[in-house]
Symmetry: C2
Subunit: 250 residues, 2 copies
C-alpha cells in the first residue's frame, strides 16, 4: 500500500537540491491540506506560500538561520486563523465569539493536521520536508514579516523541496513508549530503563555525549537543546502573541 509505505519511510530532509517544485506538485500539496478535516468545516487556518528568493532570505534569518530555509524552494507557514471566519460573521449579522483560548487551540488543530496532510502529499510526490519548531519561538517576528492581522497566529512551518540527502530512518522508542491499551500504563523506573535502553546504546548517542562532554543523553536535551530558561522565555513570548492577536478573552 503506497500511502502506508510513504508514511513508514518518512525521513526529515535537511539538505535540498537547487531545483524548483513544479506548480502541479505544489498545487497537489495545497489541495491535500485543504481536504483535511477541520472543526465544523470552518477551515479556521491559513497557509502562506513563500517562494521568492529575497523573502526566503528574510525567513531564513527569522528561523534561526537554518540552512534548509534557504535551500528548499518552497516554505509553507501554517497559521491558526479565525480572521476570515470572523470577518464573514460580521458581514452576516452574526457576532463571532472566537476571541478565546479554546478557539485558538481549535484553529491550531486545523492548521497542524493540514500541515501533516501537506507533508504526506509532498513525500508521495518524491519531495522531502522538514518541520520548523522555531515557528512558535518566532511567532511575533513572523506576524510582522507577513503582516498578519488579528486572530492569526503562526503555529508551524514546512520547508519543501527535492532531497539532496538520503538519511536512514530515525530511531524511535519501542511502541509501548507511546501506545497504551485501555488504561494509561505508568512510567515506572523499570519501564523507563527498558524503553530508552536501545536509544542510549546507539553509536550516535555515544558520539553526542563525547562531543558535548555530558554524562547522559537526557542532559543533552535539558542542558543544550531545550533548556528550561529558553523554554520559559519562549513560552512567555508565545502567550503574549496569542493574547495580542486576540485569543485570550475569557
Amino acid at each position: 500500500m503506497e500511502a502506508l509505505q510513504t508514511i513508514f519511510e518518512h525521513r526529515t530532509i535537511r539538505k535540498y537540491k537547487n531545483i524548483p517544485v513544479e506548480k502541479a506538485k505544489l498545487d497537489n500539496i495545497l489541495e491535500a491540506a485543504i481536504r483535511t478535516s477541520t472543526t465544523g468545516n470552518m477551515q479556521v487556518y491559513s497557509i502562506i506560500v513563500t517562494q521568492d528568493v529575497e523573502r526566503k532570505k528574510e525567513l531564513h534569518k527569522i528561523h534561526f538561520s537554518q540552512n534548509m530555509v534557504l535551500e528548499a524552494p518552497v516554505i509553507l507557514t501554517f497559521n491558526a486563523d479565525f480572521n476570515r471566519f470572523n470577518q464573514w460573521c460580521k458581514q452576516r449579522k452574526a457576532i463571532p465569539g472566537y476571541d478565546n483560548f479554546l478557539s485558538f487551540f481549535t484553529a491550531s488543530i486545523d492548521a497542524l493536521i493540514a500541515a501533516q496532510n501537506a507533508t504526506i502529499a509532498a513525500e508521495a510526490q518524491g519531495l522531502g520536508v522538514c518541520y520548523l519548531g522555531t515557528t512558535t519561538y518566532q511567532a511575533q517576528k513572523l506576524i510582522d514579516f507577513f503582516h498578519l492581522p488579528q486572530s492569526v497566529v503562526p503555529v508551524t512551518t514546512l520547508v519543501i523541496g527535492y532531497p539532496d540527502e538520503n538519511p536512514p530512518l530515525v530511531d524511535r522508542l519501542p511502541a509501548e513508549a507511546v501506545v497504551h491499551y485501555e488504561q494509561y500504563d505508568e512510567n515506572t523506573t523499570e519501564k523507563i530503563n527498558r524503553l530508552y535502553a536501545e536509544k542510549e546504546a546507539l553509536e550516535e548517542t555515544k558520539q553526542l555525549l563525547e562531543t558535548n562532554q555530558l554524562e547522559t543523553l537526557a542532559q543533552i536535551f535539558t542542558q543544550n537543546r531545550y533548556p528550561k530558561a529558553m523554554n520559559i522565555d519562549f513560552s512567555k513570548l508565545f502567550l503574549e502573541v496569542i493574547n495580542k492577536q486576540g485569543f485570550m478573552n475569557q
Copy 2:
C-alpha cells in the same frame, strides 16, 4: 498516486459497521503515528487505544453521547505527553524544564500530526475515521477516566472503523480562502462575499436556515454550534486543565 487519492477522497465517517478492525490494520495505524516527525525526536505524545465495549460506553458519555463512539470499534485518544520524557530525565541526572506552555504546545503538535498520520493509514486500509472536537472540552473527564498523570493532556480523539455510509465529499471554500502567496491577502468585504458565495448558495445551507429559523449561515455557527458563552466556558476549563497538569510555569 494512491496516497494523494486517499487524501483527496477523505470524508468524515459518522456511521460504522459492527465489524472489528483487524489487529494487523490497527498495528499499521499505530506504526504510522509513531513514524510521524516529532520535536527533536522526543516523541512527547501518547495514544490510548480503547476497544473494550464497556469502556467505550463510558467514553461515549464523555464525548457528548455521539453515536460513532459506540459504533466504531476503535477509539484513539491522543495526548500531549511529557510524563515519560520527564521521568527519563529525572532518572538520568537531568532536570527537565518542560512544565511551561511552550512545552505543552510542542507536545500538542507531536500528538496532532501523529493523529493525522493515523487517519491516512486508516483510510488507506479501507477504514473510516472521525475526529472528536469534544476532546478539549472534556479534557478533565478524560484525565479522570484514563487516570492520566502529570504532564499529560488529551488534545484530540479519532474513532476508527469500517464505514457504514458513503457520504459525498464535503464542500470547501475556494483555495484562495486558505492559501496566501508571499503576503497575507487581506480579507476585504468583497473577498469574503466571493469566498462564501458558493457555500451560502448550497441547498444544504438553505435547509439548515429553514430548520434553525435563522437568517444567515454564520448565525448557525455563532448562535447554535459554537456560541461565545460555550467557547469561553470550555476555554477556562481547558486552561485550568493545562495548568493543573503542570504546564503553566512561566
